[in-house]
């Protein structure tokens, strides 16, 4: 079966909200297949359903209709705790506002998914340190988020996303809260991760960010308007 070879296999995904007397179709029958090591930019104007779509891809939300098979597993109608387990194993989130725990050190932030994965302390230490090293922050492990620059914070968040070796890194406007230099560094890091075989889905409205991706998906009114492969046109320098 083709679907099992795909990392993401979605058919007829719909999400409807009841708003008073009428129904809003946030997503209206979306199909999506993503292979391993793809680099996807998910774009679309606000209200296009891209946030809802991202939440469903990230298993934070369940579709009203349709089928979603993630890494060979049907996650369409899983109960909450099972979905939490799937997120822990399969998805690495990178948020616009970083979402680091303010009172925890960089190391402790990166370690967090490993705690919920139930790993022992020495494995956690090893993996969290390796992950911090991968984003070039091994020397900042003991720093609290407020002792780090915006770019460094986002790199800690990326280290946290990587630490459980997820199938997909799902980034939501990862450069939205950064100055252009830090943003460029983060995109360069994403390029490196793609180069190392990671699968990335970046939700953005920034064409410069989208330009790094190898595939562009545009949503409009809850449907896929554009889905095309492309050669990357790096606007930023490698670091």
């Amino acid at each position: 079966m083709l679907s099992t070879l795909m990392l993401i296999h979605m058919r007829g995904i719909a999400k409807r909200y009841q708003m008073g007397s009428h129904v809003v179709n946030a997503l209206d029958g979306v199909d999506l297949d993503v292979e391993r090591n793809e680099y996807v930019a998910l774009m679309g104007p606000s209200g296009s359903g891209k946030t809802t779509f991202m939440n469903i891809i990230g298993c934070l939300d369940s579709p009203t209709e349709g089928t979603y098979i993630l890494n060979g597993e049907n996650v369409t109608e899983m109960p909450d705790d099972t979905l939490a387990h799937v997120r822990n194993k399969e998805i690495g989130f990178v948020f616009q506002t970083f979402n680091l725990l303010p009172r925890a050190s960089a190391f402790q932030n990166v370690e967090l998914p490993l705690i919920y994965a139930g790993l022992d302390a020495s494995t956690r230490r090893e993996r969290a340190n390796a992950s911090l090293e991968a984003v070039g922050l091994a020397d900042r492990a003991r720093h609290k988020p407020n002792e780090l620059s915006g770019g460094q914070r986002q790199r800690v968040a990326i280290a946290r996303a990587l630490v459980n070796s997820p199938s997909i890194i799902l980034a939501d406007e990862p450069t939205g809260n950064l100055d252009s230099k830090s943003g460029a560094e983060i995109m360069a890091l994403f390029d490196q991760l793609h180069g190392r075989g990671h699968t990335l889905i970046v939700v953005t409205h920034d064409e410069a960010v989208a330009a790094h991706a190898r595939r562009e998906i545009r949503l409009r009114d809850g449907r896929v308007e554009v889905d095309r492969r492309r050669t990357p046109t790096p606007i930023t320098k490698e670091v």
């Binding site: 934070l60 705790d81 822990n88 194993k89 979402n99 998914p113 919920y116």
Partner: protein
């Protein structure tokens, strides 16, 4: 996810940080716990001290001792009117009663008559002290444990001859005669002079009262000073502690016969034992404990509700954090435990503060008053367990609220 040590530790750490981050809020939150635990610790420590004192006192007196008195002062607490009637109408007890009982009682080992007056001035060598004067027959050394520092006890001959001799308590000797030798000295009680024949060894203070401010003189000599109309107390030591009840019954029957009471008449005297004093104390302390449990219960309930409120605020403030934790894979149980551990830890902090304050209060009260206190280890354990329980029970609702947050909503919150 079960609450691994790591999760508990993380919760304790978060609670500790939160505690320091907002000291005033923490203090207000934990006020109920602090006050509740503080009062229970302070009161129980002091009650325990009094309890210990009572036991020691009874042990010193000998628990096979009982008394026949004209009235039982403890009855005043239960029924004041009856007590007043008895004070007015009960006949005096006499030395003859004691002698008759000594002859007739089979279960009694010693029978002693004794009269007592407090606040009497005793003087010697131009100095004067206020003491309790006891008039005793020669049996008293067998009934009360009064070791001697020097000299001798009063004897059968002193008693028979109504000799004007005296045994001084240590404080009386120290206050009037020391550093001189007591040998050959006389003390004046009223307008009579008593030759000192012995000095009792120092017995120290209990409940702040000196047990060395007494003078013992023969009962006959006592009457010459205080008049013959004084009633005596008859102290009886039962032959066998196991037969204490029977000995008391025997003495009661003998006294009823002496007083010519009919089968329907009430006793016109009182038979009391230290057991009764202990029982009275037990019922008082049980009453205090019951009131205390109610008070502490209310205070812990209020404390619990305030704690719940604070935890709800804490959950609301950290909605995004909960969302993030869920996004990276925390199941509901883990979130639930995080907040439960946090609220239990907060609650225990309150309990520890309450314990410290409670023991401090007990120690201070004990230092400035005559009340002793004891530290009760079981109580510390119970206080700890109660505060943990309060934290868990009242933390459940906020923890459930956090655990059930929708991750998408939670991540979107500000």
């Amino acid at each position: 996810m079960r609450p691994s040590f790591r999760v508990v530790l993380e919760g304790v750490r978060i609670a500790y940080t939160a505690l320091l981050a907002n000291k005033l809020r923490t203090l207000l939150t934990l006020l109920g716990n602090i006050v509740g635990i503080m009062s229970v610790i302070a009161v129980v420590s002091l009650l325990g001290g009094i309890d210990l004192y009572m036991r020691n006192e009874v042990a010193a007196e000998g628990s096979n001792l009982f008394s026949i008195q004209r009235v039982n002062f403890l009855e005043a607490i239960e029924d004041f009117e009856t007590f007043i009637d008895k004070v007015m109408y009960n006949p005096d007890l006499t030395r003859d009663d004691a002698d008759a009982l000594r002859e007739s009682l089979e279960l009694a080992k010693y029978v002693s008559a004794r009269a007592e007056s407090g606040g009497v001035n005793v003087s010697a060598l131009g100095k004067s002290v206020e003491v309790t004067i006891a008039g005793c027959d020669a049996v008293y050394p067998y009934i009360s444990d009064i070791p001697l520092a020097g000299g001798r006890h009063l004897t059968e001959i002193d008693d028979r001859e109504n000799a004007q001799v005296a045994l001084l308590g240590w404080d009386v000797y120290a206050g009037l005669i020391a550093p001189r030798d007591a040998e050959g000295m006389t003390v004046r009680i009223g307008n009579r002079h008593f030759r000192v024949v012995g000095v009792a060894a120092q017995r120290g203070r209990i409940l702040g009262q000196s047990r060395d401010r007494f003078v013992i003189v023969p009962l006959g000599a006592y009457r010459k000073v205080f008049g013959p109309q004084q009633t005596v107390e008859i102290r009886i030591v039962a032959d066998d502690i196991r037969l204490l009840e029977d000995a008391m019954e025997e003495a009661t029957v003998a006294m009823r016969i002496r007083h010519g009471l009919g089968p329907r008449d009430e006793n016109d005297f009182a038979v009391t034992s230290s057991e009764q004093l202990i029982n009275l104390w037990k019922s008082i302390s049980r009453g205090v404990m019951t009131a205390l449990v109610a008070l502490v219960g209310v205070s812990m309930l209020v404390g619990g509700i305030v704690l719940m409120n604070t935890m709800v605020v804490s959950v609301t403030e950290r909605t995004r954090e909960v969302g993030l934790r869920k996004a990276v894979g925390a199941p509901q149980g883990a979130i639930m435990w995080q907040f439960l551990v946090e609220s239990a830890t907060l609650s225990v902090f309150g309990g520890i503060a309450g314990m410290a304050l409670g023991f401090a209060i007990a120690a201070i009260v004990s230092a400035v008053s005559v009340l002793p206190y004891v530290v009760n280890a079981a109580l510390v354990g119970i206080a700890f367990a109660v505060t943990v329980a309060v934290g868990l029970v009242f933390g459940t609702y906020p923890a459930l609220r956090a655990a059930r947050l929708d991750p998408v909503e939670a991540l979107r919150s500000e």
